[in-house]
């Protein structure tokens, strides 16, 4: 299932959080050889994890991490603004209507549909919070994953070659892309809505007890 968790709530989901940071170490340090920091417990964190980002996490039935991504508002400090300006033509993208999405990670045990489920959860965030675009940093292998699930971003710029290619891309909310993700993930609108409501509370449909 999908969980939407701010960093300061991760301590309530210890197994899930630890396995997420360990899977990040496996993906970014071991497989992709990015120069990231891995602590003695085998967990990868960077300076942006300290800014209370919002994580979207696929939790496996055994409570472990299956895949995740990390969101920050572009009006604050961001990875794209501080490290990847050369990939956006020097434009420091900032808007309350654009969030940054980084550290898209899949567990080695993740089923193919997890990537689609995560992107679908991302579209729930857009719909629910009035976000118009996600700006993301990703590598060549992820580019293939996005293509396979029908959620290819618009690439703003790339650097490097082969597996080491790093890009900054842009996702917009479209009903078309959403329909594809629903098909790929094998999840229903209703279930996605339920998971969203469980994290953020119900808005529409419910009759208020106050009115």
């Amino acid at each position: 299932m999908i969980r939407y968790l701010y960093a300061n709530d991760l301590h309530r989901h210890d197994r899930l959080a630890r396995s997420m940071f360990r899977d990040r170490a496996r993906q970014f340090s071991e497989r992709l050889k990015w120069p990231v920091d891995v602590d003695p417990h085998g967990e990868e964190r960077d300076e942006y994890d300290a800014l209370n980002p919002l994580y979207v996490i696929w939790e496996r039935p055994d409570g472990h991490h299956g895949g995740s991504m990390r969101f920050l508002p572009t009006v604050g400090r961001t990875m794209t603004g501080e490290h990847f300006l050369h990939l956006t033509d020097g434009v420091h993208v900032q808007s309350p209507l654009i969030w940054e999405c980084t550290r898209f990670c899949l567990s080695e045990k993740a089923e193919p549909r997890v990537a689609a489920a995560l992107m679908l959860a991302g579209s729930e965030l857009m719909r629910g919070h009035g976000v118009e675009h996600f700006l993301g940093v990703f590598d060549a292998p992820m580019e293939r994953v996005y293509r396979a699930i029908g959620a290819s971003p618009d690439v703003l710029g790339s650097a490097g070659k082969g597996r080491a290619k790093t890009s900054v891309g842009l996702w917009a909310y479209t009903p078309d892309a959403r329909a594809k993700l629903i098909a790929r993930s094998g999840l229903s609108e209703e279930l996605m809505r339920l998971w969203y409501v469980r994290s953020f509370g119900r808005v529409d449909g419910a009759k208020s007890a106050v009115a």
């Binding site: 956006t88 434009v91 209507l97 654009i98 965030l125 009035g130 703003l156 509370g201």
Partner: protein, 242 residues
């Protein structure tokens, strides 16, 4: 009001906000903006990195005094749920169960706050934090419609209030983050020359999606309501020359 007229009216308020030079003007603008959104109340509350607080808005002063006296900050679910977060919330999404919270809510409604609310948390630089709220008395359906229709402008208003409030912080270094990058200047310049989006994208050798984000980013930095106003503002401020 037609969409276009409404956009123009919103931009007039944003222009006034841009010109504001002290906290008294910010207070007057919170009242104007409340009237613009046609809600009972509008409140902006700012906490600096060093813990200093400032607020402006339209709540009854008796409610503000009571809130402080009762130390409601500790139990207010709006504050609890927005602190250190960044997604806007409809008050209905929050947990109002528990006796203390229910009593607080009754007290708020008695003081005219309203049974509905929408709050946008804003994260500023170096630990600065703010919340921007509109509240109202109406049924759920009416409120839901209002939010769907106004969410975008409410989010923008929240951030522009905050940009202005940050300017009032003493000993503040000039804000480099609001400078347009050369690429954003290019985009605004071609738009000001009457190029279509497709033509601008073509001229700059970027996709229209990329252009859209550059324009959106420039719009935010210029404190404008939409692209037309952003172009006008960059001309006024001499940021672009055509």
């Amino acid at each position: 009001m037609a969409r276009q007229e409404q956009g123009a009216a919103f931009n007039v308020i944003l222009e006034a906000l841009e010109q504001a030079s002290d906290l008294a003007e910010l207070q007057a603008l919170s009242e104007r903006m409340r009237d613009y959104f046609r809600v009972d109340h509008l409140v902006y509350h700012w906490v600096s990195g060093t813990g200093e607080q400032y607020g402006c808005g339209t709540y009854d002063p008796a409610w503000v005094a009571r809130y402080l006296q009762k130390d409601y900050l500790r139990i207010d679910p709006v504050v609890q749920s927005c602190y250190q977060r960044f997604h806007p919330v409809d008050w209905k999404q929050l947990n109002w169960s528990g006796k203390a919270v229910r009593d607080f809510q009754c007290d708020a409604i008695e003081h005219g706050v309203g049974n509905q609310g929408f709050t946008v948390p804003v994260r500023g630089p170096s630990g600065q934090f703010a919340i921007f709220t509109v509240s109202h008395s109406c049924d759920d359906c009416g409120w839901h419609e209002f939010i769907e229709e106004n969410r975008r402008e409410l989010i923008l208003a929240a951030h522009y209030f905050n940009q202005k409030a940050l300017e009032f912080e003493p000993d503040r270094a000039p804000d480099a983050s609001r400078q347009l990058s050369p690429r954003e200047v290019d985009a605004m310049t071609f738009l000001a020359m009457g190029y279509s989006r497709a033509q601008v994208a073509d001229t700059l050798s970027i996709s229209e999606h990329t252009l859209r984000v550059y324009i959106e980013s420039a719009r935010h930095k210029l404190g404008a309501a939409n692209t037309t106003h952003a172009v006008a503002r960059s001309l006024q401020q001499g940021l672009i020359i055509v």
